[in-house]
């Protein structure tokens, strides 16, 4: 019996059924028959949705990686841009701070005040609110006729010399990085030139004053009085007070 034939035959027939060894003769054969039932075949799973899902997942994963990659690289660009911005702002901040410090320098402040016609007060009076007493004599500040010494402005390269020329422009406009047109460059240079000129004037005045002082000093060298000795003993006479 070939295997092919076997499949065509019924699964079991009475004729081929083997008698079970337990079966005893005389017992009703009907009772011992194995009950037969139709075996329902399990429905075959369809493969297609799974494959589709796999491909979908793959596509999704690839997309995710792509999106992640794009976002990372664009964030990188953003990072670089922000870094550059931070750098620029740091520099700008530093520059502006320096400008403030320059205006803040006591000698520059005093020069500006003098330029505005302000005069330093030398005397003041005090009112004690608890006792209602007035002490000291407050006098109006008087402009001294003798010009006092001028302490030179800090010699920081590139800083505006003491008092900058008044400008209608927003001060920050000057600080903006100029574009490549040479017009801006020339205007910037002319401003620098003006500042440099003021500085040069101030320097010239200071130099003149220094020369005068030096000339005076040179003119008035006293004759040395040794009182007949070679080493001056500490003289006892203390003039003045």
């Amino acid at each position: 019996m070939s295997a092919a034939a076997a499949t065509t035959y019924p699964v079991s027939t009475a004729a081929t059924a083997r008698a079970l060894p337990e079966l005893q003769p005389g017992q009703p054969a009907r009772k011992n028959r194995t009950p037969l039932s139709v075996v329902r075949s399990v429905p075959r799973r369809r493969r297609a949705p799974f494959v589709v899902m796999c491909f979908g997942l793959l596509a999704l994963a690839l997309m995710a990686v792509l999106v992640l990659n794009i976002s990372v690289s664009s964030a990188q660009y953003q990072l670089v841009e922000l870094r550059a911005k931070q750098n620029t702002l740091t520099k700008q901040n530093q520059d502006l701070t320096q400008q403030v410090q320059n205006y803040d320098a006591p000698q520059n402040l005093a020069a500006k005040a003098t330029e505005l016609g302000m005069v330093a007060s030398t005397a003041k009076g005090q009112i004690d609110l608890s006792t209602l007493s007035v002490t000291g004599k407050a006098k109006p500040a008087a402009k001294s006729d003798a010009p006092s010494a001028v302490i030179a402005a800090p010699a920081i390269a590139g800083q505006v010399a003491v008092v900058p020329a008044p400008s209608a422009q927003d001060p920050l406009a000057n600080r903006k990085p100029a574009d490549s047109t040479s017009a801006a460059a020339t205007s910037a240079t002319s401003a620098t030139d003006a500042a440099a000129k003021t500085a040069a004037d101030a320097a010239a005045a200071a130099k003149q004053a220094a020369e005068q002082a030096a000339a005076k000093a040179a003119a008035a060298v006293p004759a040395v009085e040794l009182h007949g000795g070679s080493i001056p003993a500490p003289a006892q006479k203390t003039p003045g007070k």
Partner: protein, 600 residues
Amino acid sequence: MAQNTGKARSSRTSSATRRLRIGLCLMLALLLVVGAKLFLVQGLDMGGMAEAALKNRLTPTVLPAERGKILDASGNVLASSVIRYNVVVDQTVNTTTATFPRLETVDGKDTIVKIPRDQGIEELANVLGMKKDDVKNALTGTQRYYIVAKDIRPDVEDRISKLQIPGLASEGTSKRVYPNGSVAGGIVGFLKDGTTGQAGLEQTQDDVLKGTPGKRVFEIGADGLRIPVGVDQLTPAVNGKDVKLTLNSDLQYFAQQAIQSQKDKLSAEWGIIVISDVKNGNIIAMADTNAPDPNDPGKVDAKDRGVRAVTAAYEPGSVEKMITAASAIEEGTSHPLDTYTVPPTYTVDGQTFSDAFEHGTEQRTLAGIVGYSMNTGTVMVGQKLSKEKRHDWLQKFGIGEAPDIGLPAETPGILTPADQWDGRQQYTVLFGQGVAQSTLQTVRAYQSIANDGVMLQPRLIDSYIDPDGHEEKVPAKDSRQVVSKDTAKQVRDILESAVTEGEIKDAAIDGYRVGAKTGTSESPCDDGKSGFCGYTASMVGMAPMDDPRFIVEVVLQRPKGSIYGITNGPVFRSVMGQTLRTYNVQPSTGAPVRLPQYAK
């Protein structure tokens, strides 16, 4: 077939097996050689190959530490470091490039424009503020590295980089700037090569200010890219600490301006003003004439670049009479109202002393002797103490002991031992001749009288501020009781009477009680042999006397003209007045002390 070849087959099989075995042995031997070599190379690293390779890949970079700032008491910046750029050029590139492309906006559209070399040079010259020819010379040549301009501000550097000139590059550098210039310039000092301090606090505090540079070591491949999994060691840079001073820059400016005016007016050689806080020894201002601007210290003479208040020792003159009076009172040999019969000239041990003014025989109190600054009377008061006592008292008041405030070349002054004093010097030290001290030492001596006899060491450095903002106060040095509280009070009364009743009336300030003492000494020449070269005129005082807050000393070295017409009173008054105003000191209460100058 099989039965035919039975014998031949067995012989062939054995020879094949043999060959196979030989081959296997050969292979194994070769494998052993290769394995051994591998072990030698990888396991033992005989030739130091791996090490050499790693060394080749490792690239160290130095992360510079930022130098700390120097600040005044209210946080104003006296010295700080900023970013600057050096513009450098590769001349070989620039010289050979006749035109270069640049992206420009023409009529609202971005277009690439060809720029001729000359135009580029002209634009660069405009931005740099240099002459076109100079720039052209700098850009032309065969050098691969040439510095066109130094210390360019960041915004200018930005403009330059936008010009896109071929071969041009900029390098970041750090530059020290001193926003207040010559205000406190000598105290702050300056750097010699942009990194190391050469003068002032920049020199003495160099270790604190400069910090520790960091280091980054990483592996770099032959293609110039970093190897991500390689070594990456980062030692972060530790920035320098900030140094905060006790100075007030406004008062420092005021004092410098005042002493400079006085010096110019009287054609003196130099002048000093010191303002000190009585209660804690803080130095509020220490002004010098011709103070250097640390941004450009070369503009003033080398001798003017230091801080004379601590470096210059000179004979103080009559301001020393305060010490004589204090020691006599403390020793119990005198009292402010004790009477002395002062002759026109006074002779002791064959040494004759006279006064700066003519007078007959007068009945004076100790207050009157100090108030009129009489040498004769001072010798009479002081001679009751032994030579050793006089020496010890000068020493107790800090003469011969250098104040340590963190500046270079602080002088201790000259106080010769008592047994080396000659017959005259033993008396002249009583009125400040034959002994030398710095201005700060005088201020310290007066500070101890103002502070009820307790001498505090002067302070200039208030605190160190860590990069993380933590402030570490510099502790005050040990103080010492020089004279008793009672003696200090009596000496203060004498000093106040010198202003109210004595000869220093021009030191008086409206609304405040002031005590002061002048000093005029004969100053030997600097070369030490040509004798007398002029006077040192000084005035030291304190206010308000009901509770002294500040000491101001004004010193003027060798003013020209008659010494009798010179007074530092107005300068003292304006500086002390400004100090009291700045710190909102309450006007004095109570009646001013007026000790009689003449005995009844």
